[in-house]
Symmetry: C2
Subunit: 227 residues, 2 copies
């Protein structure tokens, strides 16, 4: 129960709720343990209500007709999943798949959540901020997809990771997964990593990356031309 409340307090559109209201939410839902590969949402279907990740990870993605995958994000403890239907009543705009064994979810039905939202205007205020942030993220991704090369997007991916984990780190995912993130396929990730290496922006030893020229990497990520 405490874990639930702690997680809810990290959800952008719930964190401003008073304690007692949070406790009501925490009591209104159920927990659920899932295994890697479980499908939580399927694009186009009606939403299952509010889903909050208590532990583990959930991958949000879209698939094209031939099975190629685009990862929109990976949500971990304290994030909500697929909340859009709660706010506008539409269907799920993307699919969600459990990414780690033993992932723990907390879920509240759509009706209950809507009642709660009616009772607490703070939720709407928080939702506005949360949606605005998501909007910005999507705009950046869209720009990158439409106007940047794979090379540039991969550089941005590495930079983002370096910002969190320092300039030396092992690649956190398989090449195939990285490909889904940056919008390409596994072979091209492999090649492009080596190209960044040749360009002198990073060093590679096996799966271990060292960003040796962050400025160069940033330049590759931002614009596209020279070097």
């Amino acid at each position: 129960m405490d874990r639930r409340i702690a997680a809810l307090r990290r959800v952008l559109f719930l964190k401003d709720l008073p304690d007692d209201a949070l406790r009501v939410v925490a009591a209104a839902g159920v927990e659920r343990r899932c295994e890697r590969g479980d499908i939580l949402l399927r694009e186009g279907e009606v939403g299952p209500g509010l889903l909050v990740v208590l532990a583990g990870a959930v991958k949000l993605c879209k698939w094209d007709a031939r099975g190629r995958e685009l990862i929109l994000g990976v949500e971990r403890a304290g994030a909500s999943v697929g909340e859009l239907p709660l706010f506008d009543g539409g269907n799920c705009p993307y699919s969600a798949e459990v990414a780690e064994d033993g992932t723990l979810l907390f879920s509240v039905s759509g009706e209950r959540f809507r009642a709660l939202m009616a009772a607490h205007p703070a939720i709407a205020a928080g939702a506005v901020r949360a949606l605005a942030v998501q909007n910005r993220r999507l705009l950046e991704m869209l720009k990158a997809q439409a106007l940047h090369t794979v090379r540039s997007r991969l550089a941005a991916y590495l930079l983002a990771h370096a910002r969190q984990h320092g300039n030396a780190f092992p690649l956190p995912e398989s090449n195939a997964a990285i490909g889904s993130h940056v919008g390409t396929v596994r072979e091209v990730v492999s090649r492009t990593l080596h190209a960044l290496c040749d360009a002198g922006a990073i060093r590679l030893r096996g799966r271990h990356v060292t960003v040796c020229d962050p400025a160069l990497l940033a330049r590759i990520a931002a614009r596209d031309e020279g070097a």
Copy 2:
């Protein structure tokens, strides 16, 4: 003044305001006439407050380092422009440029708008819906950019236009502008239009398009393979 109120009533996050509040907003801002090419927002700068289009058209876009343009949307009478900064306090996520001579805008300062939002919870509720809708649009655009070909995106563009204007229409923009919409350049638009023609999905006479096989066009827009 009446025109202002009529326009405000069409803005997704203001339409639910009571009459008197709307009248306060209408009185709180100023009008402004602009010419084609005027820049209203510049990506990364601080927002100018609430902007509502009263007449004419405004283009929302991003530019890459080499000047290539990605059009995110075109807003006409009754739409607001660049409202994201109002909701999360950040900077403009994209640029906005006046697309027609004699475009008429109504603007309210950010402070005034924020005060209004604090006084009227209906605004937040409406904003949630408006942002959710935008979110969905962006997700679709992102999917199309990442997973669809130019051919497919152009087919979708034509279909969308056909849905509004019937199966026969003149192309509404220059090839360059269409290119910015679907994420490519003028030459490729030209070629791909002719390719769709060869495939039998549309007929072309000059700039006049007739969708002669909507089902085929839809298939091209949705998946990508055969035909």
